[in-house]
């Protein structure tokens, strides 16, 4: 077993979102959704509460439809593992405005903290890089974030940042889970319309 990771997921996500400006944010189900909500609810956050494996694809569709806006996907290692093929699909489209953060605690946090594949060394940043992402990195220390966050928000995409975080549990912070509401308020905030 490796040394335990010490990076706090909540403080890392807060550090990332502090500089979001008008970025469009999609969160993967489970803890990444709660981490994002803990920073503060926002109409341009689209929280997934299910549809496991879809976070990167939702981000891809959004990035293709809104090429002038930055799109940030925040998801976990388990959710990313379920949708690995999406990394190949993103790499083929090469959206310049898409960044993916994988909050990797090496466990399935929603279901009893069973070890995930990344605990055995499956390298999500490496997979993304070999798929053809323009840039990927793995962050293990809080001090590295100061250098990585500006890149995350501005570098030409698609990029992936894997945060190796502690598997400690944080208090639940639950955003709205009415999917139709989340969709309509996002479109209202972005497009000033809710109808097609």
């Amino acid at each position: 077993m490796n040394e335990p990771n010490e990076l706090s997921r909540r403080s890392a996500v807060a550090r990332i979102l502090a500089d979001r400006r008008d970025t469009l944010v999609v969160t993967g189900l489970g803890s990444p959704t709660y981490d994002c909500a803990a920073v503060g609810d926002h109409p341009l956050n689209f929280y997934l509460w299910g549809a496991m494996g879809s976070a990167v694809t939702v981000g891809l569709g959004l990035a293709l439809a809104q090429p002038e806006r930055r799109v940030l996907v925040l998801t976990g290692d388990g959710e990313m593992l379920m949708g690995l093929g999406a990394l190949a699909t993103v790499a083929m489209k090469r959206p310049h405005n898409l960044a993916v953060v994988v909050i990797d605690n090496e466990h399935f946090g929603e279901t009893g903290m069973q070890r995930s594949h990344t605990s055995a060394g499956v390298d999500l940043a490496g997979i993304a890089l070999t798929c053809g992402f323009r840039w990927t990195t793995t962050v293990k220390q809080a001090g590295e974030l100061d250098k990585v966050v500006p890149i995350l928000h501005t570098a030409e995409g698609p990029i992936v940042v894997v945060l190796k975080v502690s598997s400690d549990r944080d208090p639940l912070v639950l955003p709205p889970w009415d999917g139709a509401l989340l969709k309509s308020r996002f479109r209202q905030a972005l497009l000033n319309k809710s109808r097609g």
Partner: protein, 190 residues
């Protein structure tokens, strides 16, 4: 709202031969253009090969090949969040891959337009296609999808038009199933 660029007009120019104008893929393509469908997500499929080709060569469409069909449901949800419309093209085997992901469209009322080539449904030569093909329509209906079953080529474009209107106006999931009665069955012969 319609935005039709001449180079994408399947009836008049571009890759479409004049004699081909009434061929169902061209008519379906025209309907997609009329409904301002921009994102075309697909897993390659022989039955819809011509339609996929038309979409790929249209500069106003964004064609995205998928590693598995459920990726299309996520991409089209994201595109709708960003203000744009799309379609998912696949075979009936892919419907099985999509079942849980349909919950995304269902719970959020995202419009979801799907065009599905049937396998294992009518005169199928490959027995491995039959189990999924025989339960495709029923599975879709169980998941809350409106299903239009098309058995004749001339009915394809009207079905896509009807499906697109219901899907995009109502935030509903609609699948147009293209029967092997119109597409023919793959016979595994050189």
């Amino acid at each position: 709202m319609t935005r039709r660029a001449p180079e994408c007009d399947g009836a008049q120019s571009g890759p479409v031969a004049a004699a081909d104008v009434q061929h169902w893929p061209n008519l379906v393509f025209q309907k997609l253009r009329e409904f301002d469908v921009r994102h075309v997500t697909y897993v390659p499929d022989a039955g819809q090969a011509r339609l996929i080709e038309l979409c790929q060569t249209c500069r106003e469409m964004e064609a995205t090949v998928l590693t598995t069909e459920e990726e299309g449901i996520g991409i089209l949800a994201g595109a709708w969040l960003g203000g744009e419309r799309g379609v998912l093209l696949m075979q009936s085997s892919g419907v099985g891959n999509c079942i849980n992901m349909l919950s995304l469209a269902k719970v959020c009322s995202f419009p979801l337009l799907m065009i599905v080539s049937m396998r294992g449904e009518w005169g199928e030569a490959n027995p491995w296609q039959v189990p999924m093909g025989q339960i495709t329509a029923e599975n879709l209906r169980l998941a809350g999808v409106i299903v239009y079953e098309v058995t004749e080529a001339e009915a394809a474009a009207p079905a896509v038009e009807a499906a697109a209107r219901i899907a995009f106006n109502g935030g509903l999931m609609v699948a147009v199933l293209l029967s092997q009665r119109m597409l023919g069955a793959k016979l595994f012969k050189d």
